[in-house]
Symmetry: C2
C-alpha cells in the first residue's frame, strides 16, 4: 500500500510517499516540496502545483492520497491563499481516481506522536523513527506531508482490521 | 470582446458571459449557476466545477475571464471552502490560456454603480440596465458574475484607451 501525503501551500507545498510493506513496516519512497515563485501570477502558480502533483502520481502510482485539513484561527488572507492551492490539490487527486482522505492537524499529531499537542520537533523525530531514516526529513512542509501519509497508512490499517 | 465573469462558490458558483459590440454596447450571452450537491465529497464537487467551467469555455470561447476576489472578515471556514473552489476556477481558466483578471467586491460595485457601497438591489438593477435585459438576472450569484464580466469589459476598455 502506497500513500501520498500532502501538506497544502502555495509558496511551498509538501509531499511525501510512504509505502507499507506486507510485514507492516513503513518505507519512505520520496518526499520534498513543490515551490512556486511569489512573483508569478496565482493562476500560473496553481497550474504548476497541478502539473507537479500529476507528475508525482504518474511517477509513483500511489494507491491512496491524504491531505491535511486547514485550520486557521488568525490570518484569513493566508487561509484563502492556501485553500486555493488545496482546492487544486483535491481536484488533481480526484482526476487521478485516488481515494482521498483528509485529516485535521491534531488528528495527525495524535496518529504520529500519540497526543494532539505534539510540537514540530517531536513530530519530526517520530516521523524519522517510524520511517527508519537517518535524518529528520527537511524542510518542515515535507516532514508534515510524510506525517499525513503515515496517518493515512495507520488509518487504512485500522479500517482494514475493522472490516475483518 | 467576450468576457466570462465568475463569482466563486462551492454550493452555487455564478457565471456570466458579456459581449462588447464594436459600438460599445453590451450583450448578455449567457448566465447561470453551477450547483454542486452538499452531500457529495468535496473533491468530486471541485471536479464538477472544473468540468462545467471547461464546458462553458469550449461552448462560448471567451477572450478574457474575470473572477471576484474573496473578502471575508468573519467566517474562516466558509472562506476556506470558497477559496478551494476559487483555486480550481483559476486553474481551469489558466489551462484554457485566458487572460485572467481579479476584482475586489468594492471595485466591482464602483464599476457598475459608480460607488463602492452599492447594495445588492442597486447592483442587480444596474446590471439589468447595462445589459439591456427585461428582468434582473437571477439568482444572485449569476447577477454577481455578470457584474464581474461587465467590470472586466470596462477595465479592458480603459486599458485600451490608455495604450492609444
Amino acid at each position: 500500500m502506497l500513500a501520498l501525503g500532502i501538506d497544502p501551500g502555495t509558496a511551498s507545498l509538501g509531499y511525501g510517499l510512504v509505502k507499507e510493506h506486507a510485514d507492516g513496516s513503513l518505507e519512505c519512497l520520496d518526499y520534498g516540496v513543490i515551490r512556486t515563485g511569489a512573483k508569478q501570477p496565482m493562476p500560473r502558480r496553481l497550474q504548476r502545483i497541478h502539473l507537479e502533483i500529476r507528475r508525482l502520481i504518474e511517477a509513483h502510482q500511489p494507491d491512496r492520497a491524504a491531505v491535511e485539513e486547514l485550520f486557521f484561527a488568525r490570518n484569513v488572507s493566508t487561509a484563502i491563499t492556501v485553500a486555493q492551492a488545496r482546492g487544486v490539490v483535491l481536484l488533481t487527486l480526484q482526476e487521478a481516481g485516488l481515494p482521498i482522505a483528509e485529516y485535521k492537524p491534531n488528528v495527525i499529531k495524535q496518529a504520529i506522536c500519540g497526543y494532539g499537542g505534539a510540537d514540530k520537533a517531536q513530530m519530526q523525530e517520530m516521523v524519522r523513527l517510524l520511517l527508519a531514516i537517518d535524518e529528520a526529513p527537511k524542510p518542515d512542509d515535507a516532514a508534515d506531508a510524510l506525517a499525513v501519509a503515515i496517518t493515512d497508512v495507520h488509518s487504512y490499517r485500522l479500517t482494514d482490521f475493522a472490516i475483518d
